[in-house]
C-alpha cells in the first residue's frame, strides 16, 4: 500500500477540473496506455494572457490523477511564462509530496504542461533531442539527463522512479548509469548549440539555460531569477524569492549565474540585475 498524503488522496478522490476544453489555446498529450499512464492537459487563456481555465483527462494511478488535478489548480491565474516555470518538484510539493516510486507522475504533469505551452506558441511539440536509451518506455538520454540534473538524482532506481527509464527489461541500466556519472561529474552531454548563434537562438538558449540549469540550483535556497531582456551580450535579469532580498545576491549573480551562462551560451555575456 502506498503512503499517500491527504492532499494526494483529496485530489484523487475529488479531482479538480476533469474534462476537455473544446476550443483550448493549448493541448499537451503525454504517456500511453501501454506505459500504464497518460495525461491530456488543456488550457484556455483570458484577454490578458493569463490561464483562465485548465482541464485534464488522465489514465493512471491515484498519484497520476492527483498530479494532473494539482497541475490544473496551479496554472489557473498564471501567465504562460509563470506557468512554464512549474517543475515536477513543484507539483509534488503542492501535493505534500509523492512516494518516490511515484515521482514520474509529477514529471508527466510537467511534460504535459510544456507540450501544451509549446503547442500554443506554435512550436511544433518540442523536438525530443537525443537518443532513445530506455526502449521499454521510450526515454531519451536528454530526458534522463534533465531529470537527473533537476532533481539531483543519484541512482538508476531514482531515474526509474522519476521517468520510468530502466523500469522494464533493464538492458539500459548501464546507459543510465553513464548519464548519471556524467551529470554528477559535472559534465554535460555535448552542448546543443550551433557555433554562431542568431539573436533568437541566443535568447532561447539563455532562457533554456536559466530554466534547466540555473533556477533548479537557486531553488534549493528558495530563490530564482527571471529573464527580463537580452540586449546584445547584456543579459538583464530580476532576482526573485530569497535572492531578491539576499545581501550576497550580486556574488551569486556574477560568480554563478554569469559564469554558467558564459559556459552554456557564449563566453562574452554580461549579466546585469534590475530591481
Amino acid at each position: 500500500m502506498w503512503e499517500y498524503t491527504d492532499q494526494v488522496k483529496d485530489h484523487f478522490l475529488n479531482p479538480r477540473n476533469v474534462g476537455v476544453i473544446e476550443d483550448a489555446d493549448g493541448v499537451g498529450e503525454v504517456g500511453s496506455i501501454a506505459c500504464g499512464d497518460a495525461l491530456t492537459f488543456y488550457f484556455k487563456l483570458d484577454e490578458s494572457g493569463k490561464v483562465k481555465d485548465a482541464k485534464f483527462q488522465t489514465f493512471g494511478c491515484a498519484s497520476a490523477i492527483a498530479s494532473s488535478s494539482a497541475l490544473t489548480e496551479m496554472v489557473i491565474g498564471k501567465t504562460l511564462d509563470e506557468a512554464a516555470r512549474i517543475t515536477n518538484d513543484d507539483i509534488a510539493r503542492y501535493l505534500g509530496g509523492l512516494p518516490k516510486e511515484k515521482m514520474h507522475c509529477s514529471v508527466m504533469g510537467r511534460e504535459a504542461l510544456e507540450k501544451a505551452i509549446a503547442c500554443h506558441r506554435g512550436q511544433a511539440a518540442k523536438i525530443v533531442e537525443g537518443e532513445i536509451v530506455c526502449e521499454c518506455f521510450g526515454v531519451t538520454d536528454r530526458e534522463i539527463e534533465r531529470v537527473v540534473r533537476e532533481n539531483q538524482l543519484k541512482t538508476i532506481e531514482d531515474v526509474t522512479d522519476y521517468i520510468k527509464a530502466g523500469g522494464g527489461c533493464g538492458k539500459c541500466h548501464d546507459g543510465i548509469q553513464e548519464i548519471i556519472d556524467q551529470v554528477l561529474g559535472g559534465k554535460r552531454l555535448e552542448p546543443i548549440k550551433p557555433k554562431v548563434l542568431t539573436n533568437l537562438q541566443k535568447i532561447k538558449l539563455i532562457e533554456d539555460s536559466i530554466e534547466r540549469e540555473i533556477n533548479p540550483t537557486l531553488k534549493k535556497d528558495a530563490g530564482h531569477l527571471e529573464l527580463v531582456d537580452v540586449d546584445g551580450n547584456r543579459v538583464i535579469v530580476r532576482m526573485k524569492g530569497t535572492c531578491a532580498t539576499c545581501a550576497r545576491s550580486h556574488i551569486t549573480l556574477k560568480h554563478y549565474v554569469e559564469s554558467k551562462l558564459r559556459e552554456l551560451v557564449t563566453p562574452d555575456l554580461v549579466v546585469e540585475e534590475v530591481q
Binding site: 483527462q57 488522465t58 493512471g60
Partner: protein, 393 residues
Amino acid sequence: MNVTYLDNNATTRVDPQVLEAMLPYFSEYYGNPSSMHAFGGGVAANIQTAREQVARLIGALPEEIIFTSCGTESDGTAIRAAIESYPNKRHIVTSRVEHPAVKNLFETLSKKGYRTTFVPVDREGRLDLDFLYDHLTDDTAVVSLMWANNETGVIFSVEELSRRVKERGIVFHTDAVQTAGKIPIDVSRTGVDMLSLSGHKIHAPKGIGVLYLRKGTRFSPFMIGGHQERGRRGGTENTAAIIGLGKAAELAKQHLDSGSYRCVDELRDQLECEILKRVPSTLVNGDRANRLPNTTSLAFEYVEGESILLMLNEYGICASSGSACTSGSLEPSHVLRAMGVPFTAAHGSIRFSLSRYTTKSDIDLVLEKLPPIIARLREMSPFWKGAKLEAHG
C-alpha cells in the same frame, strides 16, 4: 467501516476453531516436542495428529509431510533438492506464469548456469503441453509447475502432466499453495514428487507451510540442523502454527467433502456475471471452464487498477490488481503479459478472491459500488471516449 474481504488469494482469516486449537500451545503446552520429559514430548503426539490431518487433505502419507515456514520455503527447498540430487543434470523447466517464489528462483538459477525453460501459456492461461513435452530432455533435473494460478485461478492438469514427466524419469514439483483446500487434491493419483502448500491461504496463520515429499524421492534439506522432521528440515517446530494448520486442513477437507464449499463457486459466478452485465468493456482473464472456484480476474479496459482498488478501499472493499502501479514495478503482471492480455486491459485488471466466509451481502456491496467507480474513472480517461466512438463506428 466494515471490511469486505475479497482478497483471499493474498491471505485468509484464521478460522476461530483454528485459533482456539492453537492458543494452548502458546501458554500451556509450550514444551519442546524433542524433549525427553512428558511435558514437552507430549506435544510431539499432537504434531503427529496435525501431520495426519494435512496428509488427508492431499491424499498423502503422514511421513510424507514436512512442516516448513511458508510456501516460498517449500518451493525453494523442493527445487534446490531436486537439482542437488541430480548434480549432472543442468536443465530445469517451469512455466511463464509462476509465483515469484518459483519464477525468481529460476531466474537466479539461470544466472548460475542452469539452462531454464519457461513453458508459455495461451490467451486463456492454459499451458502449452506440446511445448512442455518437446522440451524435456535427459538433462532435465526438475519440472516445477503450479497447480493453479494465483492471479487468474486457472488450473493446470497436474494429474496428467506430472505422470508424463515422471515417465521420463524427471522430478516433478508443484506449487499447490492456491489449490489446497479449494479443489480436491489426491497426490497418490498423480506423478507429483513434491508439492508446496501454505497455511495462511487456508485459514491457518502465516508463517507455516508444508512440503509434501513422496516416499523414495531423493532429497537434501535446505535447513540443516537438528533431527526435526526426520532431519529433512531442522529447527524447533512452530508448534502452535502446526497444530493450527492441522485443524485448518481438517476443516478445509470437511468443507470440500460435504459440498459446503460449493457456495463459494456460486457467489463467484454471481459476482462475475453481474459485473460483466453491468460494466461494458470488461473481460475475464483466464479459462473460465477450468478455474479455481473462488477466483475471478476481471479486466476493465481503459482504466488503471490502482485507482480502482483505492476507490473500492473507500468502501472497505479489499481486492487486488495485476496493474503495474500496485506492484511497485512499472510493468503489469507477468502472468497477464504471458497470456497476451492487451495493455488496454492488463493495467485495469482486478482480482476478486473469495473464501468460505464470503457472503451474499459482500457480493451485493461490490455490485453496488464497482460499476459507478469504473464509469467515473472512464470519464476521466483520455482513451475511453475514443474507444467508445470506435466501437460504435
